[in-house]
């Protein structure tokens, strides 16, 4: 299925994401890597002050959609696969891969590329390539429609 090309909204969203990453570093000295922040909340806990900050950051993420609904009186558009096995496998791979690889689209992609980190450049190229190949196989070899 097609989705509308939204260069200006996507650019504006990207600027906000970059701004958020700078706020977190300037204020608290921490990288805005969501896989790191979310996994810090899961036991076992090693970093108490980091734990509380991580919980509050996630609370901020969770408040974004309700605030968006209040401001625009519509829910954000969403379409996804309705296959439970695919969602479970995808979730496990994202959780496992981001912790092993030390980051995801935000930590390696946004923050790491902005800092010109060699590790993050390699990580980002790697996950972009496997993601492109996965969608190619999913849609053009296996013929999935969503």
């Amino acid at each position: 299925m097609t989705t509308e090309f939204t260069p200006l909204l996507s650019l504006a969203g990207g600027l906000l994401i970059g701004l958020s990453a700078l706020i977190l570093m300037a204020a608290n000295g921490r990288i805005a890597g969501i896989s790191g922040i979310v996994s810090r909340i899961l036991p076992p806990h090693s970093d108490r002050s980091g734990l509380l900050q991580a919980v509050v950051f996630v609370a901020g993420l969770l408040l974004a959609a309700p605030l968006y609904k209040i401001l625009t009186s519509e829910a954000p558009a969403q379409m996804m696969t309705d296959s439970t096995p695919i969602l479970i496998i995808a979730g496990l791979l994202v959780g496992f891969g981001s912790v092993i690889g030390g980051g995801c689209t935000s930590g390696h992609g946004v923050c790491g590329l902005s800092r010109l980190s060699q590790r993050s450049i390699i990580a980002t190229c790697t996950f972009m390539i496997t993601a492109f190949v996965t969608v190619y196989i999913l849609r053009h070899v296996l013929g999935a429609t969503s």
Binding site: L11, G13, N28, L61, L92, V94, G97, V110
Partner: protein, 134 residues
């Protein structure tokens, strides 16, 4: 103060993910579908984030300490090992399959589509199990 900064950063991050379209798995998969219904929007998300992040992180690199903490916790790993590449490769496969990465998935919990309540618990189990083994 550092909790207020964390809350503001989370809210702004989530808002950015929503208006950019990152919370919509179909849009993410269309970005990844170069030979099909390609939607280049997400290149603009990354472009916008890096346009502000590149000068911003360069400037912060000159600060001696953050505003509300005793020191910057800059990432200090430099090794380009199998864990970095293998983990990232698996992450990319999961991202392509579901169209969700961690930030948009958590943000989407309060949008309330059914699929996200399957994806996020699986992701948390994956993270937790990996953390235990590490």
């Amino acid at each position: 103060m550092n909790l207020i900064a964390s809350l503001a950063a989370g809210l702004i991050f989530g808002f950015g993910l929503i208006i950019s379209g990152m919370v919509n798995p179909a849009k993410v998969q269309n970005f990844l579908d170069l030979f099909g219904t390609w939607d280049p929007s997400l290149a603009f998300v990354m472009g916008g984030a890096i346009a502000i992040g590149l000068p911003g992180f360069w400037l912060l690199g000159k600060w001696s300490k953050p505003l509300f903490a005793s020191a910057f916790q800059w990432p200090n790993k430099t090794d380009l090992d199998a864990k970095l590449i293998g983990g990232s490769a698996l992450f990319g496969i999961g991202w392509g399959l579901g169209g969700f990465c961690p930030g948009p998935a958590v943000t989407a919990l309060t949008i309330g589509s059914t699929g996200v309540f399957i994806f996020v618990p699986a992701m948390l189990i994956g993270m937790w199990a990996t953390k235990l083994v590490k």
